[in-house]
Symmetry: C2
């Protein structure tokens, strides 16, 4: 199973690495990090470089495509080469997926028209403007398109994807392997649960 | 706040990137990825390269030290330069932390002697042999030493750390920003919850 994770400068690292950690453990999975140009991509904080091992043209036909979020993906929304690659990969893919604002790129490529999809909670309106039928859930499936909410939700999505690809036992074994028995110290992980002043704060910073 | 994440070839990416995503969002945080030698480190699957921007000698005095896990950290347990660096960083640190088998390196450095600590569930015996008082909890604090269980638990630890460093409101805002409202599709994330055959399977593969 050829899995391509599309990265770019100013990506949000956990959007990509959470799913990578799950998907790479599916037996037979071949995960590759791709970018417009191969090389090191710096994250949105500038503090980490992730290596893209292949350029888009070197990997035209992934079976699973994953687009992570981060402010650096906005330029891709107007980049003909990247959007063509996403569209063509989607035509042949088994799964086309995104984490966080990665779904904005899928939307810009025109493949979310009328499709149920989600994104980071601060970008739901933006996703709607791109033609998607926005759903406020952590992981949303519509046919072969699977989209996840903000950042950390990519882990939940990837486990769901792993169950679809390798079966439930494989996904459960991966969950045990990464000891994913989450126990956050607070219960402020969604705008429905967090104090309004924090929601306003994050919304202002995400813009 | 100078935060050093020690990486190495064959690391488990999420051990490092989960905490990075949280800690880098603390106001004033300066996260740096360090290694014995600067450069690209490949993860344990081989599918991803993470950039170490500094060598150990370039960053002798982090205020927060984090050691992730992955089979590639076993050589560090016998590496005098790395262990000296860990010991010296620990002497001056505000927090000395680990995720997953990263605590084995702290143990090898002699700084867990008689300390309450944890690690990935498949390595608890190994941690005990290194002198720690092993605790089966997701995040364990003993003075300024904070250790986390397997892989994904680094996110919970980092939020706990963020609350200690920046205050609870900062940690809660970060949790909301990364939409960490986990909803795993299965409940098999710990050996106490997973079927025994999966526990045996993962234990055999972790060795």
């Amino acid at each position: 199973m050829r899995i391509a994770i599309l990265i770019f400068d100013e990506l949000t690292a956990l959007d990509a690495v959470g799913p990578y950690e799950v998907l790479s453990r599916i037996p037979g999975a071949e995960v590759r990090f791709v970018a417009k140009e191969a090389g090191t991509k710096r994250t949105d904080t500038g503090a980490l470089g992730l290596q893209a091992d292949a350029s888009l043209s070197e990997l035209p036909d992934p079976e699973v495509l994953l687009v992570p979020g981060g402010k650096g993906n906005r330029p891709l929304m107007e980049d003909a080469e990247a959007l063509d690659w996403v569209r063509e990969a989607h035509e042949r893919s088994t799964w086309t997926t995104s984490v966080c604002t990665g779904s904005l790129v899928l939307g810009a490529a025109g493949i979310l028209d009328g499709k149920r999809a989600t994104t980071h909670w601060a970008y739901l309106d933006r996703l709607s403007e791109l033609g998607a039928e926005v759903v406020i859930e952590r992981v949303v499936e519509d046919g072969k398109i699977m989209t996840a909410a903000g950042v950390s939700s990519g882990i939940d999505m990837a486990l769901t994807l792993a169950a679809n690809i390798g079966g439930e036992t494989v996904a459960q074994a991966i969950q045990l392997g990464i000891e994913y028995d989450p126990d956050p110290p607070f219960d402020t992980g969604s705008p429905a649960k967090a104090p309004q002043e924090l929601v306003d704060l994050i919304r202002a910073s995400e813009g």
